[in-house]
């Protein structure tokens, strides 16, 4: 699934083609298409009247934006201090041992109920490997 040029133009137009809205636009395009294609970058640059280098420069700065499709149901595991204090590193090791794909993030704002994790938009507190595996299955539509 990739965004076609018309969709990208519609998104840009909904922000009045304002260059300051670039990050919002990138979020919306990625939400629709899964990632940002070279073609989408070109369309955005044209609509906002900025260079493709400007678009790439901005998107490459931010961890949220992807240039290729990502698998569904990847666990974002908080590895910051408050979760370290309650075993986030050990949980990461258990995820590895159980084949649960995970990326690190730094703070999900759930510091009193760590270790914290997020699967898609779902926040999980006092996470353990079993609950994370269940959340991944759910995100992937495997029941």
């Amino acid at each position: 699934m990739t965004a076609n040029a018309a969709d990208v133009e519609t998104i840009c137009g909904s922000y009045g083609n304002r260059p300051d809205a670039l990050i919002e636009i990138l979020h919306d395009v990625q939400a629709q298409a899964g990632y940002i294609t070279p073609n989408a970058m070109m369309v955005i640059a044209g609509a906002l009247n900025i260079s493709r280098a400007d678009v790439y420069g901005t998107l490459s700065f931010y961890d949220d934006f992807r240039l290729e499709a990502a698998a569904k149901g990847i666990v974002k595991l908080c590895r910051a201090e408050a979760c370290q204090a309650v075993g986030a590193d050990e949980l990461a090791a258990r995820c590895d041992a159980n084949g649960i794909e995970h990326q690190h993030v730094y703070c999900l704002g759930n510091c009193a109920l760590g270790p914290a994790a997020m699967v898609e938009d779902r926040l999980i507190g006092r996470a353990d490997a079993d609950r994370l595996a269940a959340a991944v299955r759910q995100a992937r539509g495997e029941g």
Binding site: I23, D63, G109, N110, A112, R122, G125
Partner: protein, 506 residues
């Protein structure tokens, strides 16, 4: 008569099953044909009690928690709707010592009301501050904020009134209010809780700021890791606009995109302009040349959200809370290895020990406390013998620490402080915007040297090297990211030297 039951839809409560509790309760109500309204609130902040279920009986809110969805039928059998006895019964929620000892000004409505119920907001004092401000001149509003002693709650503690005065007096008609909701510090969640639990109070505070400095547009920059808060704020702005509460002041919600550095104010402004979140050199200060080069108030969520109370109740009333040059209340956030974690809003001046022991009940693991990091990833690590330090800006600065955004992260005796020092450098390396060399390169070299120390290589020489590097970071960095990373590193080395030596100084 319809009985009202309250369940939080705060992200933290949802993270431990609040949605399942609400769904199960709704199903049971339907099956048993009961006359019950389920009100979804924000969280009161006693995270250890979430999912917390409250029932209104004779004007009092009685609590049950932490509730699991499977407890719901038994709770109903036990007479939940009349406040019946049950193992999970807590009694009157506001009488619980965790809440009774707090002084809730900013968070008074959080966890109490449906966050998107504008009528309930108004009925509980909402809009009083805005109305008071509307009858005052811009100078008088700025004067009140100055008089209240309110300081920036984002971490730097800069007096809000002075910042507002600078923007008010700056020439030009195009000015902005930018709310910094990029709450990236580990151990902090107060901004998130407030945005989810009482979003209107933030809008009210921003509108007052707009009146004070002559700005007609407010932007709220919320980190993308907070999807629940983003949704709540978007809905709140729509309701606020529909009610035409401040037709002359317009709001816009902007999402961050996973960059910690965008919590730094100039980096946030760059991001709001659609650019890479790279730090700007100061001067010029944002108050004079901020968003799009125009005079801009940049304040944290909690700074802006404190303003309506000040305008409604008077600067002197706010000033009466706190001590020394730290006035009013601070929302402390207790996290990490803590038994009763959550949000504690109280006047400045209680000790770290009171916060951790009286409110927090000690470590969750029940092992001895060894270290506390105050003020986020750039804050110092304090050992157990500094727990009697008072929590205010000056007392913390005196021991080489900082209050920051009020986050307190507790570690037990299993923590490896050399690893924590190394992590501080790694975090700086990962999140550095790359603009200045000390932060960009120094953090990477720092992490490498600390790795060698942990391996026991030339420990003394390498520790000297780390200290040297920290001096360069502190003196030579453009912003607090590089400038403060030495705080956790050096405090770990100075306060916990045994963790840097035991590996054999061969």
């Amino acid at each position: 008569m319809t009985t009202r039951v309250f369940i939080s839809r705060d992200a933290a409560a949802l993270s431990v099953g609040a949605e399942e509790v609400a769904t199960t309760l709704a199903n049971c109500i339907a099956q048993r044909d009961l006359d019950v309204e389920i009100v979804r609130t924000g969280s009161r902040g006693a995270m250890f009690l979430e999912p917390l279920l409250e029932v209104e009986v004779a004007g009092k809110r009685l609590g049950y928690g932490p509730v699991h969805a499977s407890d719901v039928p038994a709770l109903l059998d036990a007479g939940l709707l009349e406040g019946g006895a049950h193992d999970l019964a807590l009694g009157e929620v506001e009488a619980l010592s965790f809440f009774a000892k707090q002084q809730r000004l900013t968070f008074a409505r959080c966890g109490v009301n449906d966050p998107l119920d504008l009528a309930a907001f108004e009925a509980s004092g909402g809009l009083d501050g805005l109305r008071a401000a509307q009858s005052l001149s811009p100078d008088a509003i700025v004067e009140a904020v100055t008089e209240s002693g309110l300081r920036g709650r984002g971490g730097a503690g800069f007096p809000a009134g002075i910042k507002w005065k600078t923007v008010l007096e700056a020439p030009g008609t195009e000015k902005y209010i930018c709310c910094n909701a990029d709450e990236g510090d580990s151990g902090t969640f107060a901004d998130r809780m407030l945005m989810e639990g009482d979003p209107f109070v933030l809008l009210e505070g921003m509108a007052i700021a707009g009146l004070a400095v002559g700005a007609t547009k407010g932007l709220i920059y919320i980190r993308s890791e907070y999807p629940h808060a983003i949704r709540a704020m978007v809905k709140a702005v729509a309701l606020w606009s529909k009610a035409k509460l401040t037709p002359e002041f317009e709001f816009e919600i902007r999402r961050g995109a996973g960059a910690y550095i965008c919590g730094e104010e100039t980096s946030m402004l760059e991001s709001l302009e659609g650019k890479r979140g790279q730090v700007r050199p100061k001067p010029p200060i944002p108050a004079l040349e901020g968003l799009f080069g125009k005079p801009t108030v940049v304040n944290n969520v909690l700074t802006l959200a404190a303003v309506p109370w000040i305008m409604a109740n008077g600067a002197a009333a706010y000033r009466d809370f706190g001590m020394g040059r730290s006035r009013g209340t601070q929302a402390f956030q207790l996290g990490g290895n803590i038994k009763q974690g959550g949000l504690v809003e109280t006047a400045f001046g209680l000790t770290l020990r009171a916060l951790i022991e009286d409110f927090g009940g000690g470590t969750r693991s029940t092992r001895p406390l060894r270290a506390v990091q105050v003020g986020g990833p750039l804050g110092a690590y304090l050992p157990a013998n500094q727990l009697d330090t008072k929590l205010d800006y000056e007392a913390m600065a005196e021991i080489g620490a900082m209050l920051g955004h009020g986050g307190v992260v507790v570690f037990d005796d299993t923590v490896d402080m050399a690893r924590q020092a190394q992590f501080a450098m790694e975090f700086c390396a990962m999140e550095s915007c790359g603009k200045c060399t000390p932060c960009r390169i120094g953090s990477t070299r720092g992490a490498e040297v600390l790795e060698r120390i942990r391996e026991g290589q030339d420990v003394d020489a390498n520790l000297a090297l780390v200290r040297d590097l920290c001096e360069v970071l502190e003196d030579g960095s453009l912003c607090a990211m590089g400038g403060l990373t030495p705080q956790p590193v050096l405090s770990a080395i100075n306060q916990f030297p045994e963790d840097f030596a035991v590996r054999g100084n061969a």
